[in-house]
Symmetry: C2
Subunit: 344 residues, 2 copies
DNA sequence: TCTTAGCACTCGAAACATAAGAGTGCTAAC
DNA sequence: GTTAGCACTCTTATGTTTCGAGTGCTAAGA
């Protein structure tokens, strides 16, 4: 069956109406609201064709039509009018990034907040891969008073992590200083995920000459290896799905919320997404159990042209795709610029 | 009306049965399952009395009885048999705290995880008041490569916070060292909430002699003032409420989940609780909008006899109170001990 | 050949009716 | 004071009816 222009118009009308109202839409409604210049009967014929093509579905015989995943897909690929944020909204996004934020974690947290606020869907984000990031600075700080020290590590992605260590009696601040120097000399510029395979025994040899440092150094290296080396995950507005009329079923809600609660699950969303540009996954296209009634839109953000991570949102398949896309485009843009500055 | 022994037995039976099954319980059930040696008719009379006393309620004429908030209250205060964890469970709790955890934040996160796991309710915790904690260490670290520095602050509660700073060109590591020394000398032992009222201008004067340090120092002091100074809030297992049959209503679920989502709301829960020992708030006793169908049990944890913060849980008024209490007691105990060691 | 008016048909949602069952309160007997 | 008996109440489940929205088909018209 061919997809002539009128079919396209009908399909677009059905989807737009359904996205707007959430109710199955009938031929009469289309004829009335969108003046295509033909009668309901004609539209009925077209809709029957579109159903046969797999683009529309009928919940039951006497209901209107509802878009199928494929229908949304066709709409998104071919029919959807391009949308832009208003200048005011673009300005608003820019302002939100103009706050003083000097750490990527803060920036990404703010990003998810912004996305969920502007779309009313659940916003998610994936931080840069810490494993590939290199160590930029390692310091062991003495802490007065207690028998503790602080291991601080800064990676090239600007993520700061710390670990508290117990130091054995007799270890002096000078010892710690020496340790810091050696660690920096040996580890600076090395990728976190390479640490595991590196010959840390060298360092161990060099530092553990003194008896009382043996335990400390072992502990320290162990802590270094335990630094989070995957991509960190951010989320915001997950409770927004409670406002979607299609999720009035408790079991489904539980399923989705539990899903969004797990870092690993969110990583899986991003993993199965091509690493570049904007991606839209509609319903079953998500090969992931539990969100097959949802759509996921993601976009990557970059620094100096290199992809650093991704941000995205999750909502019902009945999503305002054009809105979602324009928000994500704008936000990813502003985010990239912000990070660009951050790393300069 | 007097509360004789038989009434107590009937009330206890009704509540225990209701907690177990979640269904309104009738006189027949009580007579069958709990052998009080009297007939359903007698029990009916007692239940009518208990209803008149405000301890039981009837959803409708032909349903069984359901405990009222006051009924639970009487049960908790006077009837509930004391419960203890099994030795295995106590051992399990101890083992969970035997992991290497050197930071209070980690300990509290693990604590909420443990509580929600053991009770299937939502676990919440309140960290120590950072405002009253004193600064134990302030350091400004140079970071190689970039034009950034790292402000690290450690408070007496063992909380570590960091802030990234931009440093103007020309500032040397020695400058930063000097700044660290001065800050430490001036601020060590001061409470965070006193910083605001302190004459920071002294420090400003002392440090900002050099032109190029002016901005940095101003920035630095500002960051110090921005250190989180309230109590941090922890939560875990909030989605457990989706499993409670009494919360099958989406609106109620939304209300509670949104509530639990806000740090401020959680603080309010703890604030309205007397600062010592174990507290149980049943239903409307929570003077807080949105959780008036819930019960909250909290308990404080201490270090060297001083109250540091609180942990607790939130579930339906139909809660296994004795279980909740014994879990919280045991956990709070182990938590206190763990922190005790941490601070030694 | 395409379009459309007309109409019978389908199916779900809502309204209503009925029956079953659980539990109560009351009364009178023990 | 206790309890058996019984009428009564109210919810839940189930069935029935009605209503309306929307369809598919057919035949007439352009």
């Amino acid at each position: 069956m061919r997809m002539d222009e009128r079919k396209q118009k009908v399909l677009a009308a059905v989807i737009q109406d359904y996205i707007l109202t959430g109710e199955p839409v009938g031929s009469r409604t289309i004829a009335r609201r969108y003046n295509l210049g033909v009668s309901p009967a004609t539209i009925r014929n077209e809709m029957a064709d579109l159903e046969e093509m797999g683009l529309l579905e009928q919940p039951h015989t006497s209901a209107g039509r509802v878009p199928s995943d494929q229908g949304y897909r066709y709409y998104v690929d071919c029919l959807m009018p391009p949308a832009h944020l208003t200048p005011e909204e673009e300005e608003y996004v820019r302002r939100r990034y103009n706050q003083k934020m000097l750490e990527i974690e803060q920036v990404l947290a703010e990003t998810t907040r912004l996305i969920s606020e502007m779309t009313s869907y659940a916003a998610i984000a994936l931080g840069p891969d810490q494993g590939r990031a290199s160590l930029e600075e390692v310091q062991v700080l003495p802490i007065q008073i207690t028998n503790k020290a602080l291991l601080v590590a800064v990676t090239s992605t600007g993520v700061v992590e710390h670990r508290v260590l117990t130091i054995p009696a007799g270890v002096t601040p000078e010892d710690l200083n020496r340790i810091s120097r050696v660690l920096n000399a040996r580890l600076q510029g090395r990728a976190l995920e390479d640490l595991r395979q590196m010959v840390l025994s060298d360092i161990y040899q060099e530092l553990a000459q003194h008896r009382n440092l043996v335990n400390l150094v072992r502990d320290l290296l162990q802590q270094l290896l335990s630094l989070e080396s995957g991509e960190r995950v951010y989320r915001n507005g997950t409770l927004n799905i409670l406002n979607q009329p299609e999720f009035k079923d408790l079991d489904r809600v539980r399923e989705i919320l539990s899903f969004l609660d797990q870092d690993e699950a969110l990583r899986r969303i991003f993993m199965t997404t091509p690493s570049t540009g904007l991606t839209i996954r509609i319903g079953q296209e998500n090969k992931i159990e539990g969100i097959d009634k949802c759509s996921v839109v993601t976009i990557s953000y970059t620094v100096e042209g290199k992809i650093m991570g991704k941000v995205g949102l999750l909502g019902p398949t009945r999503m305002q795709y054009s809105r979602a896309i324009s928000v994500l485009r704008c936000v990813a843009d502003a985010l990239s610029q912000t990070l660009e500055q951050l790393y300069r």
